[in-house]
């Protein structure tokens, strides 16, 4: 399964001019792409191009079709995503492409960090791909959890909730990662959630740990795939990374990403919060 969704930096270097492959960089730091990027890679800005800019939501279907069409992505393209912060927002983009049914999406293991550290070729030239007419499928909501799903899971314990934020966010010691704006009113976690920080799934070089190592981590907190899983973080991008690992590396069938995450739950009037 891993071979179908993860590619190495070497694989990407060997496919830079493959017409079936479209490469896109998606960074937390939206200025990073302009420093230099994988030659031929398109840059997608998560703050403007991978969300609905009016309603809090993922990118609307017609906007995704426009974005992919303008990026030269065809329905049968292999899309390779990579980015900074160990692929946080590359995983966010992966999740959205899967939501809209793109068949062949992969993540470059190790992301931008590994590409830079290996001294691989960079380009500052923005590619001008031939436009395509892309047709997205309707959103597959089996991959996404909304607030009512989470409330049901809390009440009936029908799903395993996985909080992938840092331990200090889980306990409520801090409201957001140090250095980032605090965007919730209460600290803590959703009642019953298990803590499995996303960073534990990654090696020092930004690559994913082995399937066996990741499975052992989740088994250790009782998340075994025997019931549906809902992953959440603060805004849904770190949990995309964990969702990717649970669904595509471990192969658990029913895994949802709760993109409302803590900025929804932690601001909700009368929502129960558990500490520590």
């Amino acid at each position: 399964m891993r071979d179908k969704v993860l590619v190495t930096t070497e694989w990407v270097a060997d496919h830079l001019t493959d017409p079936k492959v479209r490469i896109a960089e998606v960074d937390v730091d939206t200025a990073a792409y302009d420093q230099g990027h994988v030659p031929g890679a398109i840059g997608w800005n998560w703050t403007t191009q991978l969300c609905d800019t009016v309603v809090r939501d993922v990118i609307p279907k017609n906007k995704l079709e426009e974005l992919l069409g303008a990026s030269g992505v065809a329905n049968d393209s292999t899309v390779v995503l990579y980015g900074d912060n160990n692929n946080w927002f590359a995983a966010w983009a992966f999740w959205q492409l899967k939501l809209y049914g793109h068949q062949d999406v992969r993540i470059m293991d190790g992301g931008r960090k590994k590409w830079l550290a290996e001294g691989k070729e960079l380009s500052t030239e923005a590619p001008k791909p031939a436009k395509t007419t892309y047709r997205a499928k309707d959103q597959d909501e089996s991959l996404r959890a909304f607030l009512p799903d989470v409330m049901t899971a809390v009440k009936s314990k029908s799903a395993a909730l996985v909080d992938v934020r840092s331990p200090a966010e889980f306990t409520g010691e801090i409201l957001a990662p140090p250095g980032l704006p605090e965007t919730c009113q209460r600290g803590g976690h959703i009642p019953g959630a298990k803590s499995m920080p996303w960073a534990k799934l990654a090696n020092e070089d930004g690559t994913f740990k082995t399937d066996a190592e990741i499975k052992a981590l989740y088994d250790g907190v009782g998340v075994t795939g025997d019931k549906p899983i809902i992953a959440y973080c603060r805004i849904g991008e770190r949990s995309s990374h964990s969702w990717f690992a649970l669904k595509y590396l471990l192969g658990y069938k029913d895994v949802k990403n709760y993109d409302g995450s803590w900025t929804e739950w932690g601001n909700l009037v009368r929502a129960q919060v558990e500490k520590p």
């Binding site: 937390v28 730091d29 200025a31 420093q35 230099g36 900074d84 912060n85 160990n86 946080w88 960090k113 830079l116 550290a117 001294g119 691989k120 070729e121 960079l122 380009s123 500052t124 934020r165 840092s166 331990p167 200090a168 966010e169 306990t171 409520g172 010691e173 801090i174 409201l175 957001a176 990662p177 140090p178 250095g179 980032l180 605090e182 600290g187 803590g188 920080p197 996303w198 960073a199 770190r238 500490k275 520590p276």
Partner: protein
Amino acid sequence: MKAEEYTERNETIDTWPVHIVTYRIGEKYYCTIDNVDPGARFARAEGGTREDAERTALEKAKKYLGQTRRRTT
């Protein structure tokens, strides 16, 4: 063109562990600082020398970290 003189190190700023990455692309040096856990880049700077880029990024990092409060749980 490629990233050269790539370095990574960990430091502590006002009790917060941070991870500092610096490299050069062409004639510019880039420095980015992330919080070790969860690893979110929150300060970056560029400069004509490694020292310039790191000094500016560290100044930004100190400012932003100063805005993060620890709470009792």
